[in-house]
Symmetry: D3
Subunit: 202 residues, 6 copies
C-alpha cells in the first residue's frame, strides 16, 4: 500500500479548517464561502491564509481574470490553467483545476488530455491555437512576437482575449511555482470531481 | 462542447473490434482474451494488430517484463510506466496504465500524482529512488553511471531489479513514441477505471 | 542611428500619463504617488491601468511581499527580482528593478552582474545561496525539495524567508511573462538611475 | 596508452561465447547463426541472452521491422538507427549499426556523418526528410503532427513507410536506453567493418 | 553593503598594470596603447598577457574581424558580441562590449536591451535578422542551413557579411567560455561608459 | 548509392589546392607544409585561406595551445577536441581530429567512443574528469565554479592545465561553430586514418 504520506495541506503549517477563528474576517468569510460551495476547503486557501495580504492579492487577481467578461469561456480559461500547469508539473493545479474544468465543460476526460499533451485533446482548432500561445508564454515568453498574435487573430481572438490568455498563464505560473515549492497537496475530493455523470433529476 | 473529435483508435485504419475475423488466429485470440478480461479492447491492441509480427513482438516483450518474477511488485512496474509516460507526454500510456496502476495498488489518486510529478506522489522513499533512476534512463540515459546503480542498491534493489527498471522504461519509451506519433487514443473506459471504491460484496 | 522604434509604453494602448482623469480614483492616486516619488510614471503602471482590477491585485501582491517585515533586506528582494528576470529575459524588469536595486544597495554595478550571471556578482555566500534557490524556483520548480530548504537553513534563512524568496520569484515570473508578451518598454529614466554617485550635500 | 578498460561485453555477467551450452536451444541457435555470418558474436546478443524471453522479443521486433518489405531500403533503415542512436549518444548502436550501414550502402563515410550531424551527410533530400521525422520522433514525439506526415508525403513516403520510420526509431530508442544503462560495449570488429574497399575477386 | 569581493582581474594571477616590464615588448606595447586610448587597462588584456602567444593570437583574430572592411558597421559587430555574450551569460563581455557599443552607436540604452533580449531592442529589422542568425550560430550551430542564409540575403547581407557574423559570434563564444571559466571581472570603468551624453564642446 | 553530394570543401568558394599561387607566401607555405606532412590539404586550411588574417590568427591560437609544453599530453588535448566537437555536432572536427587522436594515441577506437559518449570511452579516471570539465565549459560555462577546479586538482591537474583544457575547448567551440555554419567537409582521407595497424617495418 503506497499511500502512507502525511496528509497535511502543504509543507508549511496551515490553519485547521475546523477552527478558522484566528483568521481575519474577510479571509475566514471567503474560506467559508468556498467551503459552502465545494463541500470542503481547497488546500490552496489554507496555505495562503497563512499570509492574509497575499491571500487577498492572489484571489483578487484570480477573480479579476476568471470572473470578468471575456472572449474566452470559463471552460477555456480552465483549459489554459490545466495545460500550462501540466507543463510546469504542478500537481495541485493540475488536479484542482482539472476538476473545475471537468465540471464546467461537462467533459470528464478533457483535463487528463490537456495536462498530458494538449495537442491530442478533444478541443477545437481555435482552442488548440489558444493553447499554443499559452504554452509559449509559459515556457518561452521572451520569444513571443507579432506572429504569435497574428496566429490568434486568425482564429477570432482579439487583443483583449490575448491579454487574458497571457495573464491567466502568468498568474498560474506564479501559483505553480509556489505550489511546487511548498508541496501543496490537492484535496482528495478533487480527483474524482466531474468524472461521473450527474445523476438524473427525479 | 469540446469533445467532438473523431473517436477512431488512432491515425491509422484499425480492425473493427466487432469483426476480427481477418486477423491471424493468435492475434485474434489474444485480443479476445483481453476483451474478456477488461470488458473492451484497448486501442493499442487494435493499432498493433495492423502488423501481426509487431503485435506479437511487443506483447512478448511486455509479458517478459511485466509477468516475470521480480523484486518489483506489479504495481511498482506500473508506477515506472506512468511516471515515464508522463515525462514523454504520452496520453495513451498515461491513461491506460494509470488505470491499471489504480487497480493494482487500490490507490485511486496515485496515477495522477505520478504522471504529473512523481516527486510529490504518495510513494515510499524506495519507490522514489526507483523513479529517479527510471526518469534518468528515460530522459538522459547517456549519463547513467555507477553512482545511479549505487543509489538503488542502497534501497535494496539488486542488479536484476535495475535491469527490470531499465527495460520497462525503455519498452514504454518505445510505446510512447509510437503512440504519440500515431495519435493513439485511450479508450474512454480507462479514464474512470480504479477511481471508485469497489462495491462491497453482498 | 539605431534607436528609432516607437516609444509607446507597450504593445497595447495605454493611458496618457498627462491625462489620467478617466482612471478610477485609487488607480490614479497610486500613479500620482509613484510619479511624485520617481519623477516619472513607470510604464508598468500605465500598462496595468488598462485593467484596474488587475492593477490593484498586482500592486497588492507586490506590496505584500516587498513592504513586509522579512529576514530579507529590501535590497535582497530586488536581487531576486533582477536575477530571475534576467533568466526570463525580461527587459522591463531587468532595467526597472535593476535601477531600484542600485539605489537601495548603493551598488552601481550589482544589477548588471546579477542580470547576466549571479554566480559572478559581488554578493555574500548567503545571497548566492538565496539566488541558487530563487533560480531553481524560477526555472525548475517541480524539482525543488527538502535538500534545497536545508541549503538555505544552513545560511540562516528560516521557512518564512524561504516563502518570501519563493513568492517574490513567482510574482515576478508572472510579471516577466506579461511584460515579455506585451513588449513592455522600460522608461528611459531607469537605465541611468543609481549609476552615478549622489552629489555631496552642501 | 589509454585503452586499458575491461573488455567484458557489458556491466552485467554474460554467457561465454565459447560455451553457450546453458542457453535455450533457439537462443543458442540464433547466436550461432549470427556468429557464422559475422565471424563473431555481437555483444548485444550475449547481453540479451541473459534473459531468453527478452532476447526473443527484441529480435522478433527487430526482424519484423528490418526484414519486412518496405518503402525504405535496408540501408535507409540503418540510416535511421545510426542517426537516432547518435542523438541518444549510444555507443553500441552507433558503432554496430554504423558498420552494418557501411556494408549495406557501400558507403564507408556515411555512418560517421549520420552519427555526428545528419544534416551534413551525403544523403538525398528524401533521406534528409526521413531523418528530420525520425529525429523528431526520437527527441520530441509529443509534438509530431499532421504537418510532419505531410512533409514526408511530399517526398513520396506513404503512411506505412512512416510507421516503419517511427517504429524503427522507437525500437532503437529502447535499445539505446538499455545499452547506455548497462554500458554495452561494441565488439572491436565493428569499428573497422565496411571502411575498406572489398578486395577485387580473383 | 554587498560589494566586498576581491577586485582582482580574474581567478588567475595577472601582471600588475603599473609594472608591465616583464612582458614581451609587443604585448606591453599593445597594452600601453589601449591604456592610452581608454584611460585604463581592460582586464582581458591582463588575463591574456599571462600567455603572450595566446594574447597575440586572440588579438590578431579580434582585429581581423573587427577592423576589416565589412558590410557590417562597427556598431553592428558589437551588437553581435553583446547579444551572444548575453546568451552565454558572460559578464565580462556583456559589460565591456556593452560599453563599446554604447560609444559607437551613441545609444546609451542599446547594450542593456541586447544583452537581455535582442527581440525587444531598438534596432532595425535587418539588424534583428542579423541577430537571429548570430544567436543560432551561438546556440544551435549544427542546425544552421541554407534557409538561414536566405533569410539574411533577403535583408541585403552577402555571404562575406554572413562569414563575418558567424566568425564574430564564434570568436566571442571562445572569449565567453574563457572569461566565464576564469571569472574575468569587468573593469569598473566599463559599467558607466557611454551612458551619459558627451558634454558640449566649448 | 547515397554519396552523391558535391565534394567542395565548404559552402564558400575556396582556393584550388593545385593552384595556390594567389595566396600570400606565409599562408601558401603553411599549406604546403601540412600537405607534405599529411599527404593532402585538410579542408579547414583551404576555407580559412580565403581570409589570410583569420588563417594566421586561428593557426597561431591553435599552435599556442596544441604545441606548448603542458601537463596534458598531445593525445589528451585531442581527446578534448573530439569529445567537445561531438557535443557540438561538428562533423569536420570530429572526423579530422578523430584521425589525429587515433594516430597520436595509437588507439583505433577511441575517437568514435569519445565523439559519441566520453563516459563510455576507454580512458583513465583522470581523463574522464578532464572531459567532465571540458564538456561543462563547452555547454554550460556560466556555471563553472571552484568545485569544478577542485575536482581536477584532485586528479593532479594544476591551474595551468585547467587553462589549457578551457582554452582548447573554447578554441574548438569557435571552430565547430564556423565549420557547422559553412558546412566544412572533412577530407575523405581523415575517415580511415589511424584505424589500421601500421605495417611492420621491414
Amino acid at each position: 500500500m503506497s499511500e502512507t504520506n502525511s496528509q497535511t495541506p502543504c509543507r508549511y503549517p496551515t490553519p485547521d479548517p475546523a477552527d478558522l477563528g484566528a483568521l481575519p474576517d474577510d479571509v475566514r468569510q471567503r474560506i467559508l464561502e468556498v467551503q459552502e460551495k465545494a463541500g470542503f476547503v481547497p488546500n490552496v486557501f489554507l496555505a495562503l491564509a497563512r499570509r492574509p495580504d497575499e491571500f487577498r492579492a492572489f484571489l483578487a487577481y484570480h477573480d479579476a481574470l476568471l470572473l470578468r467578461e471575456s472572449g474566452l469561456s470559463k471552460g477555456e480559461r480552465e483549459m489554459i490553467i490545466v495545460a500550462t500547469s501540466g507543463a510546469n508539473q504542478c500537481l495541485y493545479c493540475v488536479v484542482a483545476h482539472g476538476a473545475i474544468l471537468r465540471v464546467y465543460e461537462k467533459a470528464p476526460r478533457l483535463a487528463d488530455q490537456l495536462a498530458t499533451n494538449y495537442r491530442k485533446a478533444d478541443i477545437t482548432p481555435r482552442q488548440h491555437a489558444m493553447l499554443d500561445f499559452a504554452l509559449k508564454v509559459c515556457l518561452r515568453s521572451a520569444e513571443v512576437g507579432e506572429d504569435d498574435y497574428s496566429a490568434l487573430h486568425a482564429h477570432g481572438f482579439d487583443d483583449e482575449d490575448i491579454w487574458d490568455i497571457t495573464s491567466i498563464t502568468a498568474l498560474f505560473g506564479l501559483s505553480n511555482r509556489l505550489a511546487n515549492t511548498i508541496s501543496l497537496r490537492p484535496n482528495d475530493e478533487f480527483y474524482l470531481l466531474g468524472r461521473l455523470p450527474r445523476p438524473a433529476k427525479p
